[in-house]
């Protein structure tokens, strides 16, 4: 096995035992990037020189027996997390020259462990999309089938992990943007509880929904990554003052007697047969491990997509107001202030971003606020209650991550609503703020990965991860690699 194909846990041992050096791991990663990046296009910026410099530092720490779990591990970061002195574009032309003078809290924490930043990954512009086709620069391809999308918006991070162009990655998830691409690329993707991970330095899409999480090759790596990034941050008022446990300790715990809820609204007539089969198979497998399936209902599920697209776009319309050409980023000329504003935003933003800004602006407008924004907030409360009710009887919920396996590039670009519906199973989780993971649970007839979603109570990532780990240990799905 090549070094770039290993996991964090696997590399840690080799590095600490001095069997390999960080720079050798980087050699393998960058060789892989040289070989396939032209096809996959996971990255927007590759930070090779900085990574090799960081590797020297990491080596010193390892030699001094001061290695942390991520010391010398090559990790890719979605390009919406600010990295000091390194281009951070959000895959938008409007930020195509933006170099932050500050570091996001998550990357600062990774940096504290002397991780190696491989580069900044592609995404849908401002994380708005489900395929990376909305990137202002290029579309990333699914390593399992380069005619297909990797999912999105963290498609670059997911593809980079799946294609072994890094060992692990960070993504962000506003309505499924970590879990859906993880599902499409056959890897593990975790969206922590809202407030578990600091959003400081994450370029905001929808502040009340955004959450950073890991994309990894297995559940253990997800736990290792979460250990580093989780915990209260005084720079983010919405990060919860809740002590983060050692998530790796949850792995390997028994799931005997664990009550797993099957929400009936997520298994409907006419759903994709491959997905249905794979997920039912996974439920049977969990049952065979001692878990007890219980049918539950999340009755307001049908309103989730509508509520989400009002709330997320409302917040986005305000969050993206700062890109006005005045202070940083792209500026188009104009004969006066108003024209400069309009030209800058018309030329700087892509079509989907503009569509969402307009939707959100409309929803917040005088006379419409009550009918849209306020109503959507009420729906959000009901959806939260749905989850609270379900979790009064079960420990974890099991659903498909996405309604289908990866779709073909261009298949949904002309129909935004179809694109929005690809997040139908993930959106409610963000509205409720609960944690959820996507893990590989099978393959479609076309040979594309299918993801299983496990959803937990607020701040109970441990039950989610222990269940995911138990399932992963009893299957081989996660071990399959794309034949790229």
């Amino acid at each position: 096995m090549k070094l770039n194909e290993l996991t964090i846990a696997g590399l840690r041992k080799l590095l600490d035992d001095r069997e390999v050096k960080s720079r050798e791991v980087l050699d393998a990663v960058y060789k892989r990037i040289d070989d396939i990046e032209g096809t996959v296009k996971s990255y927007i910026t590759v930070t090779k020189d900085a990574a090799y410099r960081a590797a020297e530092d990491a080596e010193k720490a390892i030699r001094a027996n001061k290695a942390s779990p991520l010391t010398g591990i090559p990790v890719a970061i979605k390009d919406n997390m600010c990295t000091k002195g390194i281009l951070t574009t959000c895959a938008s032309k409007i930020l195509d020259n933006f170099v932050p003078p500050y570091e996001s809290t998550v990357t600062a924490r990774l940096g504290g462990q002397k991780y190696l930043l491989t580069g900044k990954t592609n995404m849908d512009e401002f994380a708005m999309g489900s395929s990376t086709e909305n990137s202002g620069f290029h579309t990333t391809r699914n390593p399992w089938n380069t005619e297909c999308v990797p999912g999105g918006s963290s498609g670059g991070s997911a593809a980079a992990v799946a294609a072994d162009e890094c060992i692990a990655a960070l993504g962000s998830d506003t309505g499924g943007s970590i879990r859906q691409p993880a599902s499409f690329c056959g890897i593990v993707g975790l969206k922590p509880t809202y407030g578990r991970v600091s959003r400081y330095g994450l370029v905001a899409f929808a502040s009340s929904l955004d959450q950073i999480g890991p994309l990894t090759k297995n559940v253990t790596d997800a736990a290792i990554m979460l250990n580093v990034i989780a915990g209260h941050d005084p720079l983010d008022s919405t990060s919860a003052p809740v002590e983060a446990p050692d998530f790796t300790r949850a792995l390997g715990r028994e799931i005997k007697g664990l009550r797993i809820g099957i929400p009936r609204e997520y298994f409907v007539e006419g759903m994709d047969k491959d997905v249905e089969e794979a997920v039912h198979g996974a439920i049977k497998r969990l049952e065979s491990l001692g878990a007890v399936p219980v049918e539950v209902s999340l009755p307001h599920t049908g309103y989730a997509v509508a509520a989400y697209y009002i709330l997320a776009t409302s917040e986005a319309s305000s969050n993206l107001a700062r890109y006005d050409g005045v202070k940083y980023g792209f500026r188009a000329a104009g004969k006066d202030l108003l024209e400069m504003y309009m030209n800058t935003r018309a030329q700087g933003f892509g079509a989907e971003v503009k569509r969402r800004i307009m939707l959100g602006t409309y929803a917040l407008s005088a006379g419409y606020y009550d009918a849209y924004y306020k109503k959507a907030q009420q729906v959000r409360t009901l959806i939260k209650q749905d989850f609270d009710n379900a979790f009064s009887t079960v420990d974890v919920l099991v659903t498909p991550t996405a309604p289908s396996a990866a779709f073909r590039i261009g298949e949904k670009t002309t129909d935004p609503l179809q694109m929005y519906l690809s997040d139908i199973f993930t959106i409610s989780i963000n509205l409720a703020g609960v944690p959820a993971i996507s893990i590989p649970c099978g393959f479609s007839k076309a040979g594309l990965p299918i993801g299983l979603q496990l959803i937990g109570k607020h701040f109970d990532e441990e039950t989610v991860m222990k269940t995911a780990y138990a399932y992963e240990q009893s299957t081989e799905w996660h071990a399959r690699r794309p034949g790229l």
Partner: protein
């Protein structure tokens, strides 16, 4: 309704409400650690947060909440134990995020009042709400820079309180009085320096006219840019006359925002209702709701200073000074503190008041100085009054001594000794001087004795001049009269 409260020959009544913006005197900005100091080089007191860079987040300055609560308590407001921030969305270069973080549906304080005194009568003006928000930056337009304008974001993120009054104000004079009282209270609390010229205290007014007796409000105009008490009064007076002429001519007042042009002495339309922004307020998702415990409120309440109204009443009752003196002496905390120190040091209350409001204020005003930079200490004034009481110096000499003390910050004793200003009460010395004056003023003595008693002043002046003003005036008078008989 008194005549002073109506306009247009008694036909109309004005309905005025004020929105006051007060910059809070916190060390740091409301959502980041940058300094709030005024007057630094442009953009030197900024960081990624107040510049509105991508991905940064606000962290609420607890001191700003404390100041808002303090102000609310001083104005008799209900303090919300649960309140939250909202975003007010609009595009402007001095607004880096494209929205201002403010409060909308759930402000920190609601329902209160300020009592003002106009023409001797107390009037209560209701406070609708007090909310916290961040200030914007400043656009700088320089003709020398051609097609460019500049933005200074030092002020962006400085904490503000917006204090909204009920439409209880009826005259420009009441409005100005309300602002004076507002400024006084804010300065007493130490939450705002009240500098209207530098803009740390700003005021917008909503004003409409209605026929006397009508309950419904008329259509209002919003006035901006009135940066002094005088301009508030002038702008409102102008606006009252303008709206009355519109109504008298059978027209309708347009709902609009108007700017006060102090040079031209007029208000001018800035934007109409149709052009008004739709601010698209919604709850700020980057900040958690503000929860204030009763314990915190009680703690702040316990630390409130004595406020102007209470202090005024106490000055009248414990020092026996007139209401008028007490009002002036309590208008500023620094003045009232100075006064009390002088009285505590033994100064007779009315005498201290007279010296402060007379000589001291005159000298300070001459130099445009404030009490804080005054070299003369209150204890020194008390010392001087003692010298007057025991006859060491006369009232006349005291003026000289006072000015000397004011300039050099020395004690009265020292000044008197240094300048040899001790009053002469030695009868022999005074008699000698009197004799000399009378000897060389034979004509005047004759006229006096013939009945021109006004000449007594002439003799006193001559003797005083001869004795360099140091003669005990009482003694001099007595001796002089005796000699002239």
């Amino acid at each position: 309704m008194s005549a002073q409260e109506t306009f247009g020959n008694g036909k109309y009544e004005a309905v005025i409400g004020l929105e006051v913006h007060a910059q809070m005197l916190t060390e740091t900005k409301i959502f980041c650690g940058c300094s709030t100091k005024f007057g630094a080089e442009p953009n030197t007191q900024t960081c990624p947060v107040d510049i509105g860079m991508p991905g940064v987040l606000p962290v609420l300055n607890k001191k700003a909440v404390e100041f808002a609560i303090k102000t609310g308590l001083a104005m008799g407001c209900r303090i919300s134990t649960y309140s939250r921030f909202a975003r007010k969305n609009y595009f402007y270069p001095d607004l880096p995020k494209g929205y201002q973080v403010s409060q909308y549906e759930l402000p920190i304080c609601e329902g209160g009042h300020i009592d003002i005194v106009v023409d001797g009568a107390v009037k209560r003006i209701g406070i609708t709400r007090i909310h916290m928000e961040e200030d914007a930056g400043k656009n700088i337009h320089e003709s020398s820079s051609g097609n460019y304008s500049f933005v200074d974001l030092n002020r962006a993120g400085v904490p503000l309180m917006e204090i909204v009054s009920e439409p209880d104000i009826r005259t420009p004079k009441e409005a100005a009085e309300y602002m004076r009282k507002m400024r006084s209270i804010l300065r007493y609390l130490g939450v705002c320096d009240g500098n209207m010229e530098q803009g740390s205290l700003r005021c917008d007014a909503n004003i409409s006219m209605r026929p006397v007796g009508q309950k419904e409000f008329g259509i209002r105009a919003e006035l901006k840019n009135m940066n002094s008490f005088r301009f508030i009064e002038k702008a409102l007076e102008y606006e009252i006359n303008r709206q009355i002429s519109v109504l008298e001519e059978g027209g309708k007042v347009v709902q609009e925002t108007r700017l006060w042009d102090s040079a031209a002495g007029v208000t001018q339309s800035m934007r109409t209702k149709e052009e008004a922004h739709d601010y698209r307020y919604f709850p700020e998702p980057d900040l958690v709701p503000i929860e204030v415990t009763q314990e915190w409120i009680k703690g702040i309440e316990a630390g409130l200073p004595e406020l102007p109204d209470a202090k005024r009443e106490r000055f009248v009752s414990s020092y026996g000074i007139p209401e008028y003196d007490a009002e002036l002496l309590t208008s500023e905390r620094a003045i009232s503190d100075w006064y009390e120190r002088a009285v505590t040091a033994g100064g007779q209350p009315k005498a201290v008041s007279n010296w402060m409001m007379g000589e001291l204020m005159r000298l300070l005003n001459e130099e445009n100085k404030s009490l804080e930079d005054c070299l003369l200490k209150p204890e020194q004034l008390a010392g001087m009054l003692k010298l007057m009481d025991n006859g060491t110096i006369s009232g006349k000499i005291a003026k000289t001594v006072f000015e000397e003390m004011y300039r050099g910050g020395k004690d009265a004793d020292a000044v008197v000794k240094e300048k040899g200003l001790v009053q002469i009460s030695d009868e022999g010395a005074i008699e000698k001087a009197i004799d000399e004056v009378l000897a060389r003023s034979a004509k005047e003595v004759e006229r006096y004795r013939a009945g021109d008693e006004k000449l007594i002043g002439f003799f006193v002046g001559q003797v005083m001049k001869a004795m360099k003003g140091k003669a005990n005036p009482q003694l001099l008078n007595d001796l002089l009269k005796r000699k002239l008989q």
